[in-house]
Every structure is written in structure tokens, then in C-alpha cells.
């Protein structure tokens, strides 16, 4: 089969599943789940076939296959509905469908008994369709369409338990916060289109390669605007506030959307349109004070600040899913920082490994929550190692991978990011602090929630989850361990045309691969390990003795409270929104009351109404009057025209 056909099939399968479930099998829960799982499994198989049949993952940069049909042609804007196949999208295809498949299977167990089982799988399929659309999109407009679709399906899934006000609010918050970012994204697309006349990634790349000045003064502005889209979707500071709340959705959703795939879309988009950020800084005159700062600087610092801030917040959370949510924020900050340091392949590499181990962690957390009857407070857990052995061990694997312990996959991808940041000392230091904090909060979680003695009755009666939930954990654990050796990084380097891609062929055998980071970036590797060690040591000192309450607030004082309350971002935003809102409302009220309602509506409405009633008087229903009026009209017309 042609690779183009396969790509269309991969994209169409989840959509068909979503439509089929919604239209036909909605009443049959089991069948709906089967349809959805089959669709994503088929998409995964098709992706594997696609990668095997179409030159594997090692496709050189600039070479890609585009399958497109003309979609619309309006006023100089011609948009193709195109699918782009290169190593970047192929890696993502495998990642998204693979992790998606695991999570679909897991959901069959986790969501069992939910009254809206079928609706859940329909939304999940819709999400898969949207996400694959982003991955395969060959131009900005198409990507934006699927970008919004992802937003919609995320809204549906976060608010899945819409009868709970917290879930409904979280869905709204996620959607609105994303809209802010998307607005910038759209402006960025328009800016690019206005200057270059095309939205196709390949054409744009060629145009900018031919003439780096083509965007003129808009170069950096367009970059930052496009980055705003990533800021919303990947929950970067200052638009990060929606992600922790999004944990109100079912846990598989948190795993799929808010850890592995959707939030990664921002990073993927940055990598896809990286050519846009490589341009020399140039700002319009009105933004002259920014001269010298490139779009990449903005990206790198946003990512760095996000990762540090989120890691600090994670330290003082007590909800198991929220800890993981802040950890996701922090890791996304890492990825964005890597892109900002001009190493998109490092960010993408971390994206893929992170998808595996963060999905694993979330699913493990889900298994814990499931076993404890929806208890999420880690201070009511404990002693789960013997009761939930599979969950415990797989969770530990995920933790080690996240902390960057060799030879787990997280070590290699995180090392790539640290190496990328080496050229910027401040960011490098910041990244090391984050690495230490990551280990600290993750082992805090493991030590408090999983080890020690049960603190609660529910924890002491916990049972391991059904095997339909455990197998995905095992598979993801295997991926988390070994994803560092699958050559994803070289594929990405090759695909993004990064330096050093051709020289490294990784043929030095397995052991050479394991120790490779210590060879080419020793500083980053050793300091990274050192930071991890510190984090673990502190966590062990504080929580190794299994305290009943968190000892940290007493030692840190107000700082701990600040961390727990997320540095009061939500409150500050609420205040800011309330103030602007109140001011706007007051103005709008005045305008509405006195100008619109008073002058236009009442005045005009009154006048129209009176005119209407007056005219009705003419129509008496009396035939003689009618005849007289008609004849009189005729006479008047004759008089005007003839005389």
C-alpha cells in the first residue's frame, strides 16, 4: 500500500470510530470500547507499517512525502489538506498511537461501570483524530484547525464528569486559557501568511532559506506569536494555570492528554516550525525596546521559568495527580527550554520518552486511586508496596526514568536538554536545580504514598487492579526503560537536520550506547546525576522515616505555603480578570443603558412601533378608502410626471 494511503487511513480511523460510536453503538458500552480500541490499535499497526514501508525513521531533513488535496482557495490564501510524512511526524505517529493504545486498553478497566462509558470512548477517539491531525498537518492552517479540535476534545474529556462543578470549571478554564494562546497563534499564522503568502511548512522553510530577511521586521514578532500557541497548549508560564486543574478529568485522560500527547503538541509545533525561530532577531519599530532579544530567547526563558516554578509547586502538593501534573508542567518547561536553546531534537526526544514514563506514572497513580476508591491524598495512603506490587514496581520504574537515573530513558533525554543548556550558564544552573527538585518530589511521592505503613483504612484494604489495567503499565514500563536505546534521538536529529546527525551512527554496541552521554557531554551528565543524587538524599532524610505529617512546612515556613498555594497565580489572575471585567462591565453597562438602550433601542423601537401602528390606521378594511387611495396615488404620480 502507498504510504500516503496509509497516512490517510491512520487519520481517518479514529474519526470513523468517534462517529460510529456516537451514531450507532452509543447504547452498547462494551461494543463502543471495542470499536475505539480496535481503531487505535489499527492506527498503531498502520503507523508501524507506514514507518517500515516508507524509509523508516531515518529520513534526512528537508525530505518528506506530502499527500494533499486542495481544500480551500480564498482571496490569495490557498490551503491544502495535506499530510506530511518525515521522521519528525513518523516518530510522533508511533508515540501517539502507541501510548494512545495503552491508555485505551487501560481505560476499559478504569472506566468500567461508568454510566457514560460509550461517550468516554467516543471523546477519546475524537481526541486521537485531532492529535494525529496535528502530527500529520503539512501547513499552519490545517494544524490550527486540528489544534482547536484538540482543544475541543480536551474540553469534553476534562469535563467528562460534568455533573461535578470542579470538573466543569476546570474544562472551562482549560478551554479559555488555551484560547488566549490560540489567539496569538492565529495572529502569528496571519503575520507569516501576510509576509510570505503561504502557510505550507515546506514552502515557508524554502522561502526563508532563500531569503532570511523575508519576514522583515516581523521575524521575531511572528515567532513569539506562534509560540503563544505552544504556551497555551503546552501550559507554559504564564498560561500554565489550566493544567493542574485539568486533573479533574478521569485519570486515563490525564495520562493521555495532559501528560503524553496534547500538551506535547506545543513542543511538536515548535519543532515543526523551528525554521521560523532561527531567524535573526528583528522587531517592528514600536517594539524597539526588545531589539537584540530573539524569539528563541523568549522561548528558552519561558521554558526555564516554567520548569523551575512548576517543580517548586510540586514539592508541596498532597494530591497524587496534582504532583504529577506539576511535574508535567516542569518537564514541558524543559522541552520548551531545549527548543529555545536551538536544540529542538533534544526537546522532541524528551517529549517522546516523557510520553512513555509520564503516561506510566499517571496510569500507576490511576491504579492507586482505583484501588483506594478514588482517594487522591498521598497522606492517606502508604504501605501499598505489598498490596499493589505491579503498580508499585512499574511506578518506581517511571519515577526513576523521570528522575533521570541511567540507564532509564529519561536519563538520556534529560541529558540532551542539559547539554543543550550548557551554553547558557544561568539556564543550565536552573535546569540542574529543577533536576534535583524533580527527584525530591518524586521520591517524596513514592516514599509517602507507596511505602511505609498504611495511614488510612482504605489503604490497608487495597487490592491490585484488574489485569486489563496492569498490562499497559508493564508495556509502558518496558518502554520507559529502553526508549533511550531505540535511536529516537538520531532519527530526530537527522529529521531536523541538526549538526552531528551524520557522524553518530550508534554502532558502538549496547554498552557504548549506555555510557555515550558521559563521553560527549560529561559536564551535563555528571552534574545531572549529582543533582539527582542530592534530590534523593534530601527526600530520604525527610521522608525515609515515613512521617505521618509533612515535616517540610515547619522547616521552610512561609515559602512552603507559597509553594502549596501555587504562588497565588490563580488568585492573581482572578483578581486581574475581576478588575478588568468589572471596569469593562461598568463601561458596557453605561453604554448599554444610556446609548444603546436609551437612544437607539427605546428611541428607534418606539418610533418604529408608533409608525407601524399609525400605518395600520390607513388599512381600515374599507374598500372605498382603498380605491380612493389607489386612485389618488395614481393622480399624484400623473401630476408629478406630466406637469
Amino acid at each position: 500500500m502507498q504510504p500516503e494511503t496509509l497516512a490517510w487511513i491512520i487519520l481517518a480511523l479514529p474519526l470513523l470510530s468517534a462517529a460510529g460510536i456516537t451514531l450507532f453503538t452509543r447504547r452498547n458500552a462494551g461494543l463502543s470500547a471495542a470499536v475505539s480500541v480496535t481503531a487505535v490499535a489499527a492506527a498503531f499497526v498502520a503507523s508501524v507499517l507506514l514507518v517500515l514501508s516508507y524509509r523508516g525513521l531515518h529520513i534526512p531533513a528537508g525530505e518528506c512525502l506530502i499527500a494533499s488535496v486542495n481544500w480551500l482557495n480564498v482571496g490569495g490564501l490557498s490551503v491544502e489538506l495535506g499530510l506530511r510524512l518525515d521522521s519528525l511526524s513518523n516518530v510522533m505517529l508511533l508515540g501517539v498511537t502507541g501510548v494512545g493504545l495503552m491508555i485505551h486498553i487501560y481505560s476499559c478497566g478504569y472506566m468500567a461501570g461508568d454510566p457514560s462509558y460509550a461517550r468516554f470512548f467516543a471523546s477519546l477517539s475524537l481526541f486521537m483524530f485531532s492529535m494525529l491531525g496535528i502530527v500529520l498537518a503539512s501547513n499552519f492552517v490545517m494544524m490550527f484547525v486540528f489544534w482547536e479540535l484538540v482543544g475541543v476534545s480536551s474540553y469534553l474529556l476534562i469535563g467528562f464528569w460534568f455533573e461535578r462543578p470542579a470538573a466543569a470549571d476546570a474544562a472551562k478554564k482549560a478551554f479559555l486559557t488555551n484560547r488566549i494562546g490560540d489567539f496569538g497563534f492565529l495572529l502569528g499564522i496571519i503575520a507569516v501568511w501576510a509576509s510570505l503568502g503561504t502557510v505550507d511548512f515546506l514552502d515557508l522553510q524554502r522561502a526563508l532559506a532563500a531569503d532570511p530577511q523575508a519576514l522583515g521586521a516581523f521575524a521575531s514578532l511572528a515567532g513569539v506569536l506562534v509560540f503563544m500557541g505552544a504556551m497555551g497548549k503546552s501550559a507554559q508560564f504564564p498560561l500554565h494555570v489550566w493544567l493542574p486543574d485539568a486533573m479533574e478529568g478521569p485519570t486515563p485522560v490525564s495520562a493521555l492528554i495532559h501528560a503524553a500527547t496534547m500538551v506535547a503538541a506545543g513542543v511538536y509545533m515548535l519543532a515543526r516550525s523551528f525554521f521560523l525561530f532561527e531567524l535573526a532577531p528583528a522587531w517592528p519599530e514600536s517594539l524597539g525596546f526588545l531589539s537584540g532579544i530573539s524569539a528563541l530567547d523568549v522561548i528558552a526563558w519561558t521554558g526555564g521559568i516554567t520548569s523551575l516554578m512548576a517543580a517548586l509547586m510540586a514539592v508541596q502538593q498532597s494530591d497524587i495527580k496534582r504532583i504529577l501534573a506539576y511535574s508535567t508542567l516542569s518537564q514541558l518547561g524543559y522541552m520548551v527550554m531545549a527548543v529555545g536553546c536551538a536544540r529542538p531534537e533534544a526537546g522532541m526526544y524528551h517529549l517522546v520518552t516523557h510520553a512513555f514514563f509520564k503516561a506510566l506514572l499517571f496510569l500507576g497513580a490511576g491504579s492507586v486511586i482505583h484501588a483506594l476508591h478514588h482517594e487522591q491524598d498521598i497522606w492517606k495512603m502508604g504501605g501499598l508496596r505489598s498490596r499493589l506490587p505491579v503498580t508499585y514496581w512499574t511506578f518506581l520504574v517511571g519515577t526513576l526514568a523521570l528522575c533521570g537515573v541511567p540507564p532509564f530513558s529519561g536519563f538520556y533525554s534529560k541529558d540532551g536538554i542539559l547539554a543543550a543548556a550548557e551554553t547558557r550558564p544561568v539556564l543550565f544552573g536552573l535546569a540542574l536545580v529543577v533536576a534535583a527538585l524533580t527527584t525530591f518530589y518524586m521520591f517524596r511521592l513514592v516514599l509517602v504514598a507507596l511505602r511505609g505503613e498504611p495511614r488510612d483504612a482504605a489503604a490497608s484494604h487495597a487490592h491490585e487492579s484488574p489485569s486489563v489495567m496492569l498490562w499497559p503499565l508493564r508495556f509502558l514500563a518496558i518502554a520507559s526503560v529502553f526508549a533511550g536505546f531505540w535511536g529516537i534521538d538520531t532519527a530526530l536529529k537527522r529529521g531536523l537536520g541538526m549538526a552531528g546527525a551524520s557522524g553518530h551512527e550508534d554502532h558502538g554496541g549496547f554498552l557504548a550506547g549506555v555510557f555515550e552521554p558521559f563521553g560527549h557531554a560529561p559536564l551535563a551528565a555528571f552534574l545531572g546525576l549529582f543533582a539527582t543524587g542530592i534530590g534523593f538524599a534530601v527526600a530520604w532524610t525527610l521522608y525515609g522515616s515515613h512521617p505521618v505529617r509533612d515535616p517540610l512546612p515547619e522547616r521552610l515556613g512561609p515559602l512552603a505555603r507559597w509553594m502549596r498555594d501555587k504562588f497565588y497565580f490563580d488568585e492573581a489572575y482572578a483578581w486581574l480578570i475581576r478588575c478588568t471585567h468589572d471596569a469593562l462591565a461598568a463601561v458596557a453597562d453605561w453604554v448599554d443603558r444610556w446609548i444603546v438602550a436609551g437612544m437607539f433601542v427605546r428611541g428607534l423601537a418606539g418610533a418604529t412601533d408608533v409608525a407601524g401602528r399609525a400605518l395600520r390606521l390607513v388599512l381600515t378594511g374599507n374598500l372605498q378608502t382603498y380605491a380612493f387611495l389607489a386612485a389618488a396615488g395614481m393622480v399624484v404620480a400623473l401630476w408629478i410626471v406630466v406637469l
Partner: protein, 483 residues
């Protein structure tokens, strides 16, 4: 003698006569089938007319050039026949309530339809007058068909007297024109139009003729009959009046003002503008306090007649083509609306707004179709009503560079549109948001009417989304005008 040019007219008349004979043979219970059968024949004729449009390179003449078959005639014939199909279906459905024999209703409709087709092809004052009288006389009966209803009788009498008045104006005008020019033949008048336009006597005659046509189109100052007659007549008659009779007036206006004496039209630009503006404002404003759907449609018909004259007042090919498109869109919109009105009146016994409350629960199809036709009449894209208004206003604004009063006229038209939102959306509100009565039993819609409704709604949507084909046909139809 090119009798085949009159094919559709001949078939219609023969069909009517044979229906009269079959009336004696067919049992009463099955007479409704006659309506369906004649609707089918008319539908075939409509397709024939539509296909004939392509195969007509040159205008064809018959009866010593008194009868012409050109692009304009073919466009309107297709329009009339299409309307005829809907009206016959509707009449067949309402057969039981018409009171008198239902077959005669079909026959009269067919004769009126034949008159309309003749009017589209009239190339001579005498043919024009005869065709218009054929229409009008048939309508005298059609309006007062429900003899047991006082309202229907009243409508018939009003239509009769005012129709006779307008016919008197027209025939007097024709006499004056003949006296001034010595001919009744349109192409001979067109040949010496420049000289005739200066002739005072001819001007008076022509103005009287236009007045007679204004009665058909229901525009100022001959608009006043419309609400009463629309309200009182049976619903199929009202629908036929609203589109068929109006379009018959329009085709003659277009032919006279565009093809025969454009000089006079240019001279009377201001008069046409005033007529259009007053009609739009009168129709829109008077419709506001109305609570009866049929009466509302009467006022709406006046405002729409104003829009048609607006397109004519542009005195350009674009304006005339816009008028043709406007009518094509109006056809589907108004027929859909009347299909709903007819069913509502029949099943609920009244066409007052209060009866519409809760309609969206009792029959989503009726509610949706009525809402779509109202929104289209209001001129909301992407429905056809928007394109009709847009094209007319566009033609008007294009002329504005020559004469600034066109801008004023355009402004008035837009005010009219804005006012019309008020009452059109009043209907939509009544359907969907008004508190319904306790009665919530579903309203049964017969399958034939259901098909017609779907056809009408599809027409509204199709012409709104893909106006290209009909617009091209309209442009081709006015290609021979003398602007």
C-alpha cells in the same frame, strides 16, 4: 406559424379542460389525485422550460410577432411553472377544506398559470392585457373560493373591485399609448421609443399602464389590497398571488421598462425610487404590529415588491438580473412559508402567532421550514434571501456613482431590511421560545407536503450556497434588454 413555441400554454389549457371533463368521471374521494397528476404534468413542463432555455439561440416569434419566446420569457416561465407545482400540491392537500368542487380549483389555477406564461411572452399590449385579465379573472374566483367563509368572500370582493380599477387604468393607458403611437406592438414601440418618450400623451398612457402593473406587483400606490386579500384567501391562492401574480407584473415591467422604452424609465427614475422606498418602508413598518401570519406575509409581499422595483430603478442590466434572481429566491422562500401556513391553518384552525407556540415540539419539520423561510426573507446569509437583497443593493450602489440619490435609496432599503428583522424574527421567536399551550400533540404532515417542504428548504439553501447557476441564467435572460 410557430405553434410549438406556445407548447406549455397549450398543454396547460388542454390539461385544464380535460380535468373539467374528468371531474364527472372521477369519484369525489379520489379527486385529490387529479391535483397530484396535474402537478406532475406542470413539473414536466417546468423541466421542459428549463431545458428549453439552453436550446434557444434566437428569440422566437408567433402570431405576427405578438408573442415572443426569448430568454426573459423562458426564465419566467420556468419560475411560474415551478410555483404552479407547489400551489397544485398544496391545493390538493387542502382539497377538503376548499368547500366547493376541488377540481375547479385546479382548473382555475392551471388557467391562471397559462395566463402567466402568456404574460411572460407578451409582445403586444393586447396580448399583455388579455394575459393579465386571464390571471386576474381566475384569481377573482380563487380568492373567494371558500364561499362559506366571510373573510374569503370579502377578500374576493376587494380583489375584484380594486383589480377592476387597476384594469381600467391599464386599458385606458393602452388606449392613450395606441393613440399616441399608432401601434400596440412592443418592438415597433421600441423602434421609435426616443421620440415617443417626449410625447406627453404617450407618457400619460404609459404611466397608467405601469400603474396597472403596480397593482399586480402590489407596490405603492396600489399595494393597499394585499394584506386584506392575503389574509382572507385560501392559503394556496395567497401563495400563488404572492409569487405568481407578482412575477407576472414584474416580467411585464422588466419588458416595458428595459426592452421597450428605457428612455421613459430613465426619465422616471425618481418616481421608481419613491415607489420602491415607500413600498419597502410601508410594508416593513405596517408588518410590525401584525399577529396573523397570512397578513404578515401580505405586508412582507409589499416590502418585497418594493425591493423588486428597487432593482428596476437601478435601470441597468445588473439591476434587472438581480430582480430575476430575487424572484427566484422569493419563489422558494414564500412557497415554503405558505406550505407551513396552510398546514398550520388547517390543523390548528388559526394562523395567529399564538398557534405557533410550541410548534417546534409538535412538528420540528414545520417549525424548521418556517423558521428558515423567515430567516431567508429577513436576508440572513447563507440563505437565498440574502443574495437577492445583496445583488439588488449591489446593482443600486453601482449606479450611485452617476446619481447620488441611489445611495439614499440604498440606505432606505437597508433600514427596511433592519426593520423587517423585527417581525420575521418575531415569527421565529413565536415558534421556538413562546410558551406553548397545553396542547402538545404532534402535527401530522402529509407525505406530499413533506416532500414539497423539503424541496422548498433545499431550494432556499441551494440558491443561497450556490447562487451561480441561477444568477448566470438571470444574466443571460436580461441580455437582450436595451440598457
Amino acid at each position: 406559424m410557430n405553434l410549438w413555441l406556445l407548447g406549455p400554454e397549450v398543454v396547460l389549457v388542454l390539461l385544464g379542460l380535460s380535468l373539467l371533463m374528468m371531474d364527472g368521471v372521477v369519484p369525489t374521494a379520489r379527486r385529490r389525485l387529479l391535483g397530484h397528476a396535474s402537478a406532475a404534468v406542470v413539473a414536466v413542463l417546468c423541466l421542459y422550460a428549463l431545458s428549453g432555455h439552453a436550446g434557444l439561440p434566437e428569440p422566437g416569434y408567433a402570431f405576427g410577432r405578438m408573442f415572443v419566446l426569448d430568454g426573459l420569457a423562458v426564465f419566467f416561465k420556468a419560475l411560474f411553472l415551478c410555483a404552479g407545482v407547489f400551489v397544485l400540491l398544496l391545493a390538493a392537500d387542502m382539497g377538503d377544506r376548499l368547500g366547493s368542487g376541488v377540481t375547479e380549483y385546479f382548473v382555475l389555477t392551471l388557467f391562471a398559470l397559462a395566463g402567466m406564461l402568456l404574460a411572460a411572452s407578451a409582445n403586444n399590449f393586447a396580448v399583455m392585457y388579455v394575459a393579465l385579465e386571464l390571471i386576474t379573472v381566475a384569481f377573482y374566483v380563487l380568492t373567494s373560493y371558500q364561499r362559506s367563509r366571510v373573510a374569503s368572500l370579502e377578500a374576493g370582493v376587494k380583489y375584484l373591485i380594486l383589480g377592476a380599477l387597476s384594469s381600467a387604468f391599464m386599458v385606458y393607458g393602452i388606449a392613450l399609448c395606441f393613440g399616441a403611437s399608432g401601434t400596440m406592438q412592443f418592438d415597433e414601440l421600441a423602434a421609435k421609443s426616443a421620440e415617443l418618450a417626449e410625447n406627453r400623451l404617450f407618457q400619460v398612457g404609459m404611466l397608467l399602464v405601469l400603474g396597472g402593473l403596480a397593482f399586480k406587483v402590489a407596490v405603492f400606490p396600489f399595494q393597499i389590497w394585499a394584506p386584506d386579500v392575503y389574509e382572507g384567501s385560501p392559503a394556496p391562492t395567497t401563495a400563488f398571488l404572492a409569487i405568481g401574480s407578482k412575477a407576472a407584473g414584474v416580467v411585464l415591467l422588466v419588458r416595458l421598462l428595459g426592452g421597450v422604452i428605457p428612455e421613459l424609465g430613465l426619465k422616471w427614475e425618481m418616481l421608481l425610487m419613491v415607489v420602491a422606498a415607500v413600498s419597502i418602508l410601508f410594508g416593513s413598518l405596517s408588518a410590525i404590529p401584525q399577529r396573523s401570519l397570512k397578513r404578515l406575509m401580505g405586508y412582507s409581499s409589499i416590502a418585497n415588491g418594493g425591493f423588486v422595483v428597487l432593482g428596476l430603478a437601478a435601470m441597468s442590466k445588473a439591476g434587472s438580473a438581480a430582480v430575476l434572481f430575487y424572484l427566484a429566491g422569493y419563489l422558494f422562500t414564500v412557497l415554503t412559508a405558505f406550505l407551513v401556513v396552510a398546514v398550520v391553518v388547517e390543523r390548528l384552525g388559526t394562523d395567529d402567532f399564538s398557534a405557533l407556540a410550541g410548534l417546534h415540539q409538535r412538528s420540528p419539520l414545520l417549525a424548521g421550514a418556517l423558521a428558515i423561510s423567515m430567516v431567508s426573507l429577513a436576508g440572513v446569509p447563507p440563505l437565498v434571501g440574502f443574495f437577492g437583497k445583496f445583488l439588488v443593493l449591489k446593482a443600486l450602489v453601482e449606479q450611485g456613482t452617476a446619481l447620488p440619490s441611489y445611495f439614499v435609496l440604498g440606505g432606505i432599503a437597508i433600514i427596511g431590511v433592519v426593520i423587517s428583522f423585527w417581525y420575521y424574527f418575531g415569527v421565529v421567536r413565536a415558534i421556538y421560545w413562546n410558551q406553548g399551550p397545553e396542547e402538545t400533540s404532534p402535527v401530522v404532515v402529509p407525505p406530499v407536503i413533506r416532500m414539497a417542504l423539503v424541496g422548498g428548504v433545499l431550494g432556499i439553501l441551494f440558491l443561497g450556497l450556490f447562487p451561480g447557476s441561477v444568477w448566470d441564467a438571470a444574466v443571460a435572460a436580461v441580455a437582450l434588454l436595451k440598457f
